[in-house]
Amino acid sequence: MTALSRRNFLKCSAAGLAFPFIVPRSVFGRNAPSNRINTAIIGIGAQGRGHLGHMLGHSELQVLGVCDVHGGRAEHYRDDANKRYAGKTGTASYNGVRSFIDFREMFATLGSLDAVVIATPDHWHGLPAVAACEAGLDVYCEKPLGHTFHESRAMADAARRHGTIFQTGSQQRSDSTFRFGAELVRNGRIGKIKEVWVAIGGPPKLFCDLPADEKPASLNWDLWIGPAPYRPYSKVLCPDGWDFGFPNWRGYDEYGGGGQYDFGAHHFDIAQWGLGMDDSGPVDVVAPDGKDIKNLTYTYANGIKMYVGSRIKGDATTWVGENGIVSVNRGSFLYTEPASLADERFGPGDIRLYNSPNHFQNWVDGIKTRRDPICTAEIGHRTASVCHLGQIAFRLGRKLQWDPKVERFTNDTEANRLLRREMRAPWTL
């Protein structure tokens, strides 16, 4: 990042340093851009669109760039953003938002950038996130954190090294029902935990064998593939246009992690929060074998078993303790045994977990205070690790022992080889 960041803008201008600033300071009145956090977004698909809309409406953020490997899409949302800012300022036109196809060009061009939101397919999380940390930008990155174990570890390390305010998009942490459930568990309200149930989908297909389609003219397919193994264009992976649902890149191991990573990044995350395992993980994992082992099963060092499956109708994460059950899901779903636990209150001496009422705002607040947000890259990495271990167990079909401290399998060389996926040159992490 250049020295002309938002935070030292006033200092520079006071010194009479001339530089091109994208928006005149008067444009936004009290919320002048110099007081705002200059942001950009990478990936404007189904998820990114929501983020972009939120960013444009946020009084503390100023969007400077939109980046997508589909040039037409990037331009469309750039124009949309400029129109919105023009409407806000009551001016006929506004051109402060620029579009990019390549995030590297965006980082190099937008020198006053403070922070970036990454909402790309999974195989494209690691590289821009690490590059952003190294450029001194703060990062909001969609879940699951890294597409491979190696990537998410590299992201967490880069964030720690560069003091990045890094929020992983596992936003259930900022939902009061999930927090309450985790606090009940952490405070021993259901006694010693015996098992945890996590209701998520299955693993992805290991090889994307979709038919080749005709590539849209304004899509840079080579860049969409990026570090992942090459294959011809498929509209299933990246539809043309700018208004579509969630494309199914998630269904294929090269680009996503199936339902296991998609909701695993949420529900494993809550499970680990309740267990106090944010800086650790299970010690073994075994995939279902169609015979004796019915569920993907993890074991923690303290003997707690975590099963992938549903324990209570409608649940997402369910902790079973010696004295009761706590089960949570979205839509304020809370099931407890005994029922009275739902009215439980916490007092002095109880463990109070990090309280973030709004995941995105928590990140924005962190940028200003430098306080770690609720779901740091390290937490995101530990959650993603649970997904990675599950995926490797599915692929190898045998019980794997894991050392969460050194983060290596202790009984399987082949499993360790799968912790990392080689990147297509020239990409590397």
């Binding site: 940390c133 064998d209 090459y230 007092g347 200003k368 205070t369 430098r370 082949e414 996926r421 590397t428």
Partner: protein, 574 residues
């Protein structure tokens, strides 16, 4: 048609062949065509590593079949990523020269154990990907490319030395000055992970001092703190006033990891810092939990800068000191952050102090105490809150009512019913009662229970739509003809707010019989909304007839327009 049948037959033949030997179909593997991959994955999954050599051999045979497709080679490479041994080198190394499958070759080779793999990669024609693979294998031999004439190879080698992460790699990167500084940071992090603190402590202070790049300086500082927090103290203190980019902010953040004794020094620098660095340092002082920082934090509570003040309030929570309660309480009447902070502060004496404040003569303090006790969900406050809900001081009464909402439970129902009869704001009390009965999960039954508490109370009847069931609706209908004006009005409003089709007929009747313009307007809107609702189960034709019927009794243009709108919407749905 003929071509289609031929293709179909070929596909079927492939499947049949695959069923017998999944490897036979592999050379022609292609995107969008039936394939035998699942059978191979299943076989690998069912085989222990000792049996993987056989699988490797079959994969290599398929991949070397003349005409083997790109998809086949990519699939084989991905399988070799797991089962590959040096036995595959003769095949895979050749792929490195083929631009189409060179990447696939590296998938197979990069993680493969064996010195032979390193040797083979080093003898291959140098390429970025090969250097990256060697770097991932932490092979220092890539240093030879640091002086390469090819800029791509040179860049790959420099970045790669960071990944190699040895003292030798660090020395080379240091000698490259600016060109090597980003990789040197990665290298230092690797060294630290491997336990070589000595080298890190030699690299980082120099990096911190010499670089002009704020992100490099920040990383050097953070690594220094991680390597030896004691040794890092002078650098961090000095960095709080660093002028390079955001380095000072990061220093404030890194200070959380410094040893206990440094708090006084951090506080002494506080007044000299910019407000944004003060915010970050206050956050750190809170997280450090060292009460030596109390005077600085208390002073910051009075800061003229809102951001500094807010962060000072937040910093109070982890410190949890009694001396912070009064200043926070003074802020809590207006400041929700102060309320939350007191609400979450882990201080056993705080609850009794707040309970005592409930009888304070200063109503501002009483309101603050109410808010804090509510946040702390302290049930000991319940009886006081019930009393304060009837306080003559309206601000206090409103605060108490707000606090009781969702907090009062079954045990408070009797007392609340009494308050209901006397309250000015009966709707607020009715809502509190509704929430107090939350233990009755069936909402229809809950409303019946609520109604039985005071069966002539209009404010309760207004909650009937929350009940939403048959019994609740019966109560509403019965009161549509109530003699009491307020009760009848509440019943009409409840009917209009009803979210089921039952409301349609009685609403229509009201529209026909009433002369009250407001009722006509509200009833018309409710009817139009219900009949155009997606969940409305009344047959479409009947809905239109009902709207037409309503139209005949309406005289206000706005009401008629509402009905016309509904008819148009229904026509659109058709």
């Amino acid at each position: 048609m003929k071509t289609f049948l031929t293709l179909l037959l070929l596909a079927a033949a492939t499947i049949v062949r695959a069923a017998d030997d999944p490897y036979a179909a592999l050379p022609s593997l292609d995107f969008g065509k039936p394939n035998s991959m699942q059978a191979i994955w299943d076989e690998a999954r069912a085989t222990t590593p000792s049996g993987h050599a056989a699988i490797e051999a079959k994969l290599l045979k398929a991949a070397t079949t003349p005409g083997a497709t790109f998809a086949c080679k990519r699939f084989v490479a991905d399988m070799l990523r797991v089962v590959g041994t040096t036995a595959c080198l003769p095949v895979v190394l050749k792929w490195l020269d083929d631009p189409q499958v060179a990447d696939s070759a590296l998938y197979a080779l990069q993680g493969m154990p064996g010195k032979e793999v390193d040797a083979a990669l080093l003898t291959a024609a140098p390429k970025t990907g090969i250097i990256q693979a060697l770097a991932a294998r932490r092979n220092i031999a890539i240093k030879q490319f640091v002086t390469s004439a090819d800029p791509a190879l040179r860049r790959a080698a420099i970045a790669g030395l960071g990944t190699v992460g040895t003292a030798e790699a660090a020395a080379i990167l240091q000698s490259l000055k600016t060109d090597g500084e980003a990789a040197l940071i990665v290298c230092a992090a690797r060294l630290l992970k491997d336990g070589d603190k000595k080298t890190v402590l030699a690299i980082c202070p120099e990096q911190f001092r010499n670089t002009t790049r704020p992100s490099i300086a920040t990383a050097a500082l953070n690594l220094l703190v991680e390597a030896d927090a004691n040794a890092a103290i002078p650098t961090v203190l000095q960095a709080l006033e660093d002028k390079r980019g955001d380095v000072a902010l990061h220093a404030a953040s890194a200070a959380r990891f410094l040893p206990h004794g440094v708090t006084r020094d951090l506080c002494s620098t506080f007044p000299k810092l910019t407000p944004s660095v003060q915010v970050a340092l206050l956050c750190t002082l809170g997280l450090r939990g060292d009460r030596t920082a109390l005077p600085t934090i208390k002073a910051a509570l009075a800061s003229a800068d809102d951001a500094v003040k807010t962060q000072a309030i937040r910093a109070c929570e982890p410190l949890a000191d009694e001396s912070l309660i009064e200043p926070l309480l003074a802020l809590a009447a207006q400041n929700t952050v102060a309320q939350e902070t007191l609400g979450r502060m882990n201080l056993p004496t705080l609850d009794n102090m707040m309970l005592a404040k409930l009888s304070d003569t200063d109503s501002t303090k009483v309101v603050s105490a109410i808010n804090v006790l509510r946040t702390r969900a302290n049930r000991k406050a319940m009886s006081s809150l019930l009393k304060l809900a009837e306080s003559k001081d309206k601000t206090v009464a409103q605060a108490a009512l707000r606090a009781l909402d969702g907090f009062a439970g079954q045990s408070e129902v009797v007392a609340l019913t009494g308050i209901l009869q006397r309250a000015d704001d009966r709707n607020a009390v009715a809502r509190i009662l509704w929430a107090a009965l939350r233990g009755v999960s069936d909402k229809d039954k809950r409303f019946v229970a609520l109604w039985q508490l005071a069966p002539t109370e209009a404010a309760l009847l207004a909650l009937a739509p929350e009940g939403g069931g048959t019994e609740s609706f019966k109560i509403v209908k019965a009161n549509l003809s109530a003699g009491d004006v307020a009760l009848k009005e509440a019943a009409v409003r409840a009917l209009f707010a009803w979210k089921e089709d039952d409301m349609v007929e009685p609403t229509l009747q009201i529209l026909k019989s009433t002369t009250d313009k407001k009722h006509k307007a509200l009833g018309t809107r409710a009817l139009a909304n219900r009949l155009t609702e997606r969940k409305c189960r009344i047959p479409a034709a009947k809905r239109v007839a009902m709207l037409d019927e309503a139209l005949t009794v309406l005289d206000q243009p706005a009401d008629k327009k509402q009905i016309e709108w509904a008819k148009e919407k229904l026509a659109e749905k058709k």
